[in-house]
Symmetry: D3
Subunit: 300 residues, 6 copies
């Protein structure tokens, strides 16, 4: 399976049309997070400053804008955060998730009771900034490997409580998602292999257990292990910590029979070399565990 032959390769999200704009997860998926976030910020007494300084009937209008260049993600999430705190706040998205932004780009317009706008600001911006940071980091790698046919995917190294949103931010940046958790696909890793004793035995045990709608991926870190894997009933192979040359050889041996995924120490400066090995996917933990927030602010 060469890169040019992969029109339906999963996850890249490249041909999404206007009819299918990027839509953040349904709020039921992250509602607990909003509740937690506001509880954490309001504490027992709420916003002491705002309630002391701002009259109860004051109105405010403003925009949330980017202070830096980047890629935005989480506009709908931020909008919902404002409205979760106070349904009387109206929020109008002004930028689509996944789009590039410059300093000054308006992301949302906000209007409503001044107290609510000021109190909800930080929670909404914390989410928007973090998700945008992930999207921008993803976008940078996706652009770096453009033309190689490789898809950039994230891992389970996400912030506790934010997995669904961080996975979404990766998609907003042009990447795709690996497993969402321990129960939606099988990934046999080195520690599992050591306990099972062999690749074949590990796969046999998995096949005895898991259902027909569960994909199975196995991590290998040598070509010998890869050879042992080929012919076994799995869907994908995680090639861990192999250099570009070994990866290219691995891709050749797989010959399109499995999805091939490179992982381990794929830093930005190494991404292109690794992608050129012909692997289908680059698995990169730092898309989520090491993203830095986009600087966004509210201007009344």
């Amino acid at each position: 399976m060469s890169a040019s032959e992969r029109p339906e390769r999963p996850g890249a999200g490249k041909s999404v049309t206007a009819q299918f704009p990027l839509v953040a997860p349904h709020h039921l998926v992250y509602e607990d997070l909003l509740r937690t976030a506001f509880a954490e910020d309001l504490g027992r007494a709420g916003d002491l400053t705002t309630e002391a300084v701002v009259p109860v009937d004051a109105r405010a209008e403003g925009v949330v804008a980017s202070r830096r260049p980047g890629v935005v993600a989480g506009v709908q999430v931020a909008a919902r955060a404002f409205r979760f705190y106070d349904p009387e706040v109206t929020v109008t998205p002004r930028a689509a998730d996944g789009s590039r932004v410059e300093p000054g780009t308006v992301l949302l317009e906000v209007a409503g009771p001044a107290r609510s706008v000021l109190t909800a600001e930080r929670t909404a911006l914390n989410l928007l900034g973090r998700l945008s940071g992930i999207a921008a980091l993803t976008r940078a790698v996706v652009d770096e490997v453009a033309g190689t046919g490789a898809t950039v995917v994230c891992t389970r190294k996400t912030t506790p409580g934010l997995r669904a949103l961080e996975k979404y931010a990766v998609r907003a940046g042009g990447g795709a998602n690996h497993r969402f958790g321990l129960d939606d696909a099988v990934l046999v890793k080195d520690n599992h292999l050591a306990i099972a004793g062999s690749v074949a035995e590990a796969v046999r045990r998995v096949r005895d257990r898991v259902g027909h709608l569960v994909k199975v991926e196995v991590e290998v870190d040598t070509l010998e292990q890869l050879d042992e894997l080929l012919g076994l009933p799995v869907d994908a192979v995680l090639l861990d910590n192999l250099g570009p040359e070994l990866l290219a050889e691995a891709v050749r041996r797989v010959g399109g029979r499995l999805v091939t995924e490179a992982s381990g120490g794929i830093t930005p400066d190494r991404a292109l070399a690794i992608a050129r090995s012909g692997v289908d996917l680059l698995s990169i933990g730092w898309l989520t565990h090491s993203a830095t927030s986009l600087d966004v602010g509210l201007d009344l």
Copy 2:
């Protein structure tokens, strides 16, 4: 792919060895259910009868036994229910999940403060009875189709709040699991096809979106739709409401390229005929939505 060639066909769980006994889901998966169940039964004031009649220092020993023939599932779950209510209760499992039971078969031994044993009894038994009922129903169908190579799978028609446990009970009965929810695999159904306009367009949209560790199944209800599906990048086909002859023809056309799954009105008396069509899986909603509880009781 004939039945005799399917040593690694997913999900049947037939060759599970002693080293891999059936283990119920980790309690963190169903702890909220126990909390809810006890809250519901204890109400605001707890067990009025037991607290009035049973001295606080009375001890009780007893066994939970089956009153009817069947298959047991949920022994560990029932044990945990007793101990969730009171860690001073000791529970010793006496039957393995998945095993057949007769009237009088002892499932667990229970000992501890008499108040705790009596108060926790109903919650523990309600779970044990329901899961065992599902296991028995599954086992009956699995036995009915034995020799055909078909795997029996359940659906999402489970009791709200009990999905993980009911899916487990199906496995205890020798069956396998279909999707656990809307997010761990794609199943394109008739309503989706109608909106997309064609099978090909629906599959194209899915491939644009979902990751490489997500399996894709499409429901078809005619051979024409099946022909349209073959050649598209999907993993499985759900053949809905086709009779045995059409199923056999469908299996022939698929020729082992996809996992084939029959669904729709598979009643016990029709299961064998459908399984003989050569399909890989029988998808049966009533394993969970229409199971009747095993009658189990506590004898002090």
Copy 3:
């Protein structure tokens, strides 16, 4: 107290007028169940299929209809499930809880965003199907014993988390409810009697403890125990596992001084014989623990 003399016997719900239609419990009673059910089905990522295939602005209209003959219960609950997921979905009930349905009977009309309708469908139907199954089973027994004056009641053998709704479904089927939990009435059972040493001692302990708004029922399984009970300050007697003849004798001895309730192995074919013994109530666990769901479907 003969059957013809019992105009005010509790629970039968026979003369409910149009002014008092059957109303499901207030949503605050079962809101946690909806939250749990949707969380379970949506998982971390939501409805992959629908979000991939259905445009965000597509609308859908459809009906939820029965596929089988039966009795419906839970129409309001299903309506609320759709609207809990998305308040923009409008739902119009088309059948009253407790009414008989035939294949094709429309139960609800649903309209709104196509994504929301499709995603919420299974959760709404799982609840509707299960509650209707209980209502139908109850109705069948209620009809079987019609004319005897006996009321059919359920037990605490309900599905964890669904007690309030399942108890409601029994009422929708023409039955009445026994205790909702361990704290709203006293039921002294065989194990309690064994610990107390005698019926009289058990009742004495209960009377020492419980308040004036708590009813007290005692289970007996012999006429000797019944004789011991008569004269003690209790409200009802549970006659466990006595045959029709012994039950008739028990009813004679009680002479209307207590509510009489038969329990234990009351299968459908034995219900009428038992009801003819003159007991006030038939207590039947399988109304809830062994009901099978009504097959209901959504047609767009």
Copy 4:
């Protein structure tokens, strides 16, 4: 039914033996309250003072003692509060709930990590103080009416979130409990009667609906309403805002056929006069809504 004839009158709890010590509700009933209380006090950062001043390995021993005369309730609850915060704290109850205490009476001994003892102190004492205050207030009225045969009961005017514990404190003080909530008994009040149009119609509606294990009480505020009620199938009558003479006449008319309960403005100085009317119960909201906490302290 005269006072001397009421050996089994519900609720008074006078003859509770050593074998049945007062036991607080099972912790599952109030565990959420402990979680809420500690979350509220610890906030986001925990006990700043203690963590700054007390070495992590310091131990503390001390006693919780009363500062005032009173009646104690909640010793087990306070013990559990300490241990909920830190299971390494050991707590030894030194006073039985319901017992009288003097200044200096030791209620619990506490030992363990000094940080945990100091941090958990306030939450444990707040609960203990409040419950003891209710017990003392109840005991005072119970003693006031001693010899009349009247039982003192509380109402639903409890602190939100503490109902089970406050009802327990009333029992610890020698009182009994009225309804725990809206669903464990029927109480038809003046507003209900006004809507139903008559006492008879209200009772008819109730009897159409509620099950055989639900007691029914009706509030009347005139002898005419009482006459209307007599003969209807109810269990108790709430005589609201009648003076001692009218109450005595009401008790005479009831003639032991119903439990009689006086309510409305029963202040301490009026309790004895009202009890002497011969009513079975005095219903007193201020047992819970106007109790003042017992002053308890921790001495290391």
Copy 5:
């Protein structure tokens, strides 16, 4: 610092203008309390009485009025309680929190479905009554010490789960708030001092640890300890159990360098004498732990 020189002394809230009416905490702060309170009252089955007696389409209009003289607090909270139960209920506040009320003073107007009004009544009134009781008690002390310049503050001796609302009620009564919990300020108490060995060492440890936005108060119970404290970097001193003369001397020694707060046994009849000592604050636990509810009722 004399009383006349303290225009900016914190917390008294005396000059709050119309533009800054007393506003209860944002509902997110106490939403869990409403959920808990209704769950507790509705139980598993909801309001049996109202659902039996009141037609589903009946409407009700009424007023919540005070039955006694007092000070009101919690009007917005009560309004939200009604609407939390049923958003179709409309509630119009008729009295401002903090205002004095007489028997008959209307606090809120309520209109909507009769069932909802009757069912939500008790939960709304329990909150309103309790908060008003605290406000009235606070107001009485505030008035008692008027003219002395002393501010009346509450403590952490609040009802578990209600701290934010009870602190608000104190403000409504003209008082101010001490710490909301263990994490928003440091209060070094006697037990801490005993462990640290000296006031100086305790303060040193605190200063090593806490941030610049955390105030530090130290409790002393002798003038010697006070002398040791002066000169150390703290913000306030809690003068515990000193009589008026010693307090006056303490205030003199402090000389305005610290906020001075008296605590310990400040009963109503002693409050004025203590306030005249010149202390800035009177800390009074019984504002919250020993308030008695205002009698409020709903008249349809």
Copy 6:
């Protein structure tokens, strides 16, 4: 107040002795986070791979080690994560929070059931990695400004749900904490000032409202605003986006009367210059919003 005169300046935590090791927040503060994190990772079905491959009675021993140089934080939190999942896992901390680590430094030893160790690994490491990343970033800035006397503090730009732990990680890195939320101190910002009309009016409103244990800080962005602030009753001033020269002038004008805090665009290369202005605190959002996780791994 010059740097050399600030022995008791709050928050720096420099002289913490062995008796006061850094202790992570009490687990009750972050227990919900662990529950959420495991629920998110386990999903409905738990760890498919481990349950298929690893025998139920297999044991594992291993170490969690750093893969990179850095500073560790969260060792106790990670230990608790393992034990939250399975109390049979034993964890021995091998590094103190706040200590520097090199590649290979062992942080914890872990032993127990192999399934539990493998399943809990990711959740434990995600927390440990993130907190360590924050500690390292903080440490780098703290070291950069060493000798200037300036304290490094974080902001409310934390990850939703992790505030308490992230604030702790800043302390582990040698920094101090600003507000934990909107309710533990007042910070009047530009938008508040705009609404109030002037610094003096804003402060007046705040003083009218907040209690004596709440510190008050005001943000100014010109020296004119600063002059307006001096003399008003506040505790600290936030000097926003002033360069080193203006900051030095501001510090001079304040003259030790207020805590001075610089904020706005304090990048690592500018931190030293800003610290040398003499400000007491540097407020740096990217300590938390832009930290990158420390790479930590589990080796069996």
